[in-house]
Amino acid sequence: MTALPFLLLIAAVMAGYVINRMAAGAIRDRGDRLHSLIGYHGMFSALLILVPVLTFILLWLVLQGPVIDRMVMGGLPDGALDDLDSGATQLVLAEIKSLANGRVFGTPEDWKIAAGERFVQLSNQAAWLLAIAVAVLAVGLLAFARSRVAAEFRARQGVEGIVSGLMIFCSTVAIFTTIGIIVSLTYETIRFLEAVPLTDFLFGTNWEPQIPLREDQVAAEGAFGWLPVIVGTIVITIVALLVAVPIGLFSAIYLNEFAPRRLRSAVKPVLEILAGVPTVVYGFFAILVVAPAIRSFGQSIGIDVAPNTALAAGGVMGIMLIPFISSFADDALSAVPRALRDGALGLGSTRGEMMTTVLFPAALPGIVGGVLLAVSRAIGETMIVVMAAGLIAKMTFNPLDSVTTVTVQIVTLLIGDTSFDNPKTLAAFALGMMLFIVTLIINIFALRIVRKYREAYD
């Protein structure tokens, strides 16, 4: 059933191409000079049908689901959904849908069965309606395109106009993505701030998002001060940078100036492998190897170490960032003009002195930009900390303690929960908003430094 509109579309596109091409061919055979090649007449018709109809079908399919859901839920008998929160309403809907698909569990109420049937009926009607609409639209466009065929018709310009429009649309997707991120985060954050005052969120030192699920449940009120979460993020980021920056920088210095060419060409791909390892693998590495190693080392020298220390998560994140920093530093060092190297060597400096006194200072802006990008990566990195860092927010700067991060909280708050109407899930969006703002500022700043630096030596 879903395939039918697409089949109709393909048929119409092909028909449009063939019909217009033949019509243009007929004009040419009569001896008139065509402005455009006959292929362009065909393409014009095909594109004229393809673009609007495909857009129509996709929009329809996206909107069809929610509309039918709403109609089904609206048609339920009065009182069926009373005193159900949104999560329970979702469950009812899911049950109705599985009934509609013929999967029966237990003995459902009659009104649910009726709703299921109604769901099937509406879905079928929608499918037919779509097919008819597509057919009408396609035929109309086909006729319109055919009517345009004439000797002087600029089909090539028409085709190129449509292609240009498509390309411009493609370019704006990036903008729409950004807008989508900003709008969705802002919207959910505002809803969150309706429940939790902004000052509590920004300056509160207590993060306990476990709010009661039922009214009568005895539980903590729920506290949403993000300071301990951001403190944890900072601790882990610092640990990661303490690992990544020295190792990455010294690797880059060695590779850029001292390594024999053979070694350099062997080492760089290996570092790229480190960069290509998915972060979920690093996360597993942290819990499988690094955390136990740190723990047993701590025990051997008599220090009590938490099982999910900031040290393990941050250290592994540092390993992940090594290739990032080293390749940025290597690029920055390579961008320093040869004239400066020659100048330093010509004055009789050793290569080591040339590196530390001329090359490295000259490359510093580029390197700083790279380190800043690494910071933003560390702050936004998710899987390593979700797997290896803690869940409890603590105001501590001790790397041997267990801390939590912004990303960990986002993931744990949202895993397995679908309703968007309690502060707990909305808090995740508020945290996401903060994460987005912080990383965006760092990124813009870093990219600007890097760009300025490149221009300085171009």
Binding site: S164, I168, C170, I181, L249, I253, V289, N443, L447
Partner: protein, 433 residues
């Protein structure tokens, strides 16, 4: 010019050479030290990679085999009456038959019978059920079956449970070890390649859990991602590189794309959750939504790679074609784009490889559900390879540790393959202008 200090060959000159000579040893030592530190840094990075890979291989390789037990099963009509199919006491029939292989076991004792049954994987009874349902004529006959053993015995066979640990700290009792040794002596134990790792979907039981669901889910997600990100990315790159007027808007788009490439992946997950699932009402846990999200993340990579590839095509080719009277679009689509295609494909494959390993956004849209069958369309619930790794890494059962490592090795295998294709393309079509 009568300044003494300026006269060449004066005392100053001699001392310069001496001063330099005196400092040389120290300075070269300093340079040597810098080199040693550099080599040390690289060695640490290599060591980390080595530990990472070796720890994965050493824990993961054993998941590629699975201990099986082969024995004769009497399909007891009392336990499995034909009229009750597909229900029946398949587990009891299996346990009774297995008990016969073990000398001195009293199967009438319920506790012992339970323990004997525990040797077999929970999946064994379903295997028997499927065979009997397919051919009810088997009832009352004795058939030979090879079924997986349960996780503790698998671990025991692979030497992951040390026999010399005290019994109370061990997951298998002394009696159970004795049974297993008896089976081994009888030649009933085998350890073939673990095909189930690729043909089974997820399961609560480590010995039955496989990656099929995750592989299928990742396939659908990547396919969706490719179908969306590839045309959008190329279209956008061509426009920005070849057609866009240099104005504030195209500058803004460019800055936008660069920043988008650096937005944390979890934020894309939030976007997908709020917009695709919350507002558009697309299904949760569906690879289609995952692919859509990954497409948004992959697009900047493809755009940047495509623009670089287009830039590398020399202007002489454009001028030659324009000079022949081709329109600007004809030049780009007929001449420039085909020449840039290897670079575009390389960038796309690298982008897809990144997408394949991406985990956090998939977690947020619920692709970490426990799903025991493979998705048949991109709209069904599914997991993906990286989220499956996350689920297994979170599982408390010992057996899942090596499964997780094995799943990671499979994932890394795919990534290596994709990167090799990219490198091959780059080298094969690399052109020197």
């Amino acid at each position: 010019m009568t300044d003494i200090a300026n006269v060449p060959g004066g005392p100053q000159r001699a001392s310069t050479t001496d001063l330099v000579a005196a400092s040389l040893k120290r300075r070269h030592r300093k340079q040597q030290r810098l080199q040693w530190i550099g080599m040390g840094a690289i060695s640490i990075a290599f060591l980390m990679l080595f530990i990472l890979v070796s720890s994965l291989v050493s824990t993961g390789w054993q998941a590629f085999t699975q201990t099986h037990v082969t024995f004769d099963v009497y399909v007891d009509p009392e336990e499995i009456p034909e009229d009750r199919l597909p229900r029946g006491g398949f587990d009891d029939a299996l346990a009774a038959s297995l008990g016969k292989m073990l000398p001195g076991v009293d199967m009438s004792d319920r506790k012992t019978a339970r323990a004997v049954e525990g040797i077999l994987s929970n999946g064994a009874q379903f295997e028997l059920r499927d065979r009997v349902v397919a051919d009810p004529g088997l009832i009352g006959r004795t058939i030979q079956m090879t079924v997986p053993v349960s996780d503790p015995f698998d671990q025991l066979n692979k030497g992951l449970i040390a026999r010399d640990t005290p019994e109370e700290n061990r997951r298998v009792t002394n009696t159970e070890i004795q049974w297993f040794d008896d089976l081994q002596d009888a030649g009933a134990i085998s350890k073939p390649f673990n095909w189930a790792l690729f043909t089974n979907a997820d399961s609560r039981f480590p010995e039955l859990a496989g990656l099929k669901g995750a592989l299928v889910g990742s396939f659908w997600a990547l396919l969706t991602c490719f179908l969306i990100a590839f045309p959008l990315g190329i279209g956008s790159a061509i426009y920005l590189e070849e057609f866009a007027p240099k104005n504030k808007l195209s500058d803004f788009i460019e800055v936008n794309i660069n920043n988008l490439a650096a937005v944390p992946s979890v934020v894309f997950g939030l976007l997908a959750l709020a917009v695709f699932i919350g507002w558009f009402g697309l299904p949760r846990s569906a690879p289609f939504v995952g692919g859509l999200t990954l497409a948004l993340m992959t697009m900047p990579t493809i755009i940047i790679a495509t623009r670089a590839a287009l830039k590398a095509v020399p202007p002489s080719i454009r001028e030659a074609a324009l000079g022949l009277g081709a329109s600007k679009q004809q030049v780009v689509f007929q001449h420039v784009l085909p020449l840039a295609m290897p670079g575009v494909l390389t960038g796309t494959i690298i982008g897809l490889a990144q997408a394949l390993g991406e985990t956090a956004p998939l977690l947020l849209i619920g692709m970490n559900a426990f799903i025991t069958s493979a998705a048949s369309s991109p709209f069904d619930s599914a997991t993906a390879l990286p989220t499956q790794i996350f689920i297994w890494a979170d599982s408390p059962e010992r057996g899942f540790v090596s499964r997780t490592s094995a799943a990671i090795l499979v994932l890394l295998g795919f990534l290596v393959m994709m990167n090799m294709v990219a490198i091959y393309l780059r080298q094969k079509f690399e052109r020197k202008w």
